[in-house]
Symmetry: C3
Subunit: 138 residues, 3 copies
């Protein structure tokens, strides 16, 4: 068994933003030299997400509207978490979107369906945050 | 390390449907010959889900009602994604239900709790769609 | 490849409760002797969750309030699942929070971000229930 580890850093100009990181994960798998195995991709922060869906701008707007309905950012006072912080909503939004994905590696490539794209979902941005990529296999 | 890969195909007569696929995943694990490891089971499509819960018809009706409340199918015009498509709701429903499960394999079997069953959750059906099964271990 | 398996048992005095199990998972990884790999941690019951977020009491109160808003416990009659049981809400709450986490192991340790803590989320407690820990790697 071989293993490979890499951290990817992101710093979004906006509080909430979705970034397609499929190509970077692909590069990690290539760099690992692993042909058959699994790759775990997870946010290392608890107000961000890694998830898989479509790279379509209408859908991304729908996510924004929908998450704001399920867990609105404001008023900040609605969350007990918001004493010294104002990101209570971001913890809940990330819970809906999920922390991590596990993707199969087959023949040295990400084994994704035709429209599957891997995203970093930022819900409390404007600062440097990390994604962990861990590949295991052979 | 051994690895094993298989695609399972589904075509549901209804737009939304839950299918118990535990037995098929069990067969994949058996076919792989792997005694200790992990199996990843994921929808290869972004309007479908693989999740684990109870095989109980009342609960399945509750899922239908609840998902329709959290992300209603209609009116189609409420979603930016619905230009050429009408499945904006299905992307959100699948986000709630999750893309994938990872299940332990112990002594050559799925290591599930007493009521854990693996489901394919279809939210935009009436066409052929795939589930990926990837087993790694020894 | 080495694999390691352990069951952890919990019995919460309250119906809903969040328990920080990071230290116990850490001990499992140490006990496994695995230096590089993955650990799967999953609820073996379908009304409980394993998830990763912050160990902050305000946030935990926010989870309680938010999950009660998205899938209220009462009236019990609102769920089809509640014939002989009264835990329909717990199945839905656990769906939001997720069944499992997969965490990287690097240099013999859980490879977590600075605030990442692993929780057992109980939504239908007052009885003994299990978490499965499966470690694979080398």
């Amino acid at each position: 068994m071989i293993s490979f580890r890499k951290e990817l850093w992101y710093n979004t100009p906006k509080r909430r933003q979705l970034i397609n990181i499929t190509h970077e994960i692909d590069s990690c798998v290539y760099e690992s030299g692993i042909r058959e195995g699994l790759v775990l991709v997870n946010a290392m922060h608890i107000t961000a997400s890694v998830f898989i869906n479509d790279d379509e701008s209408g859908l991304h707007q729908d996510y924004e509207d929908w998450l704001e309905k399920l867990a609105p950012e404001k008023p900040y006072s609605q969350y007990h978490h918001n004493g010294f912080e104002d990101n209570g909503d971001a913890h809940l939004k990330r819970t809906i979107m999920g922390r991590e994905v596990v993707v199969a590696i087959t023949n040295g490539k990400l084994d994704l369906g035709p429209w599957e794209q891997i995203f970093y979902g930022e819900f409390d941005g404007k600062r440097r945050k990390r994604v962990l990529v861990k590949v295991i296999g052979e």
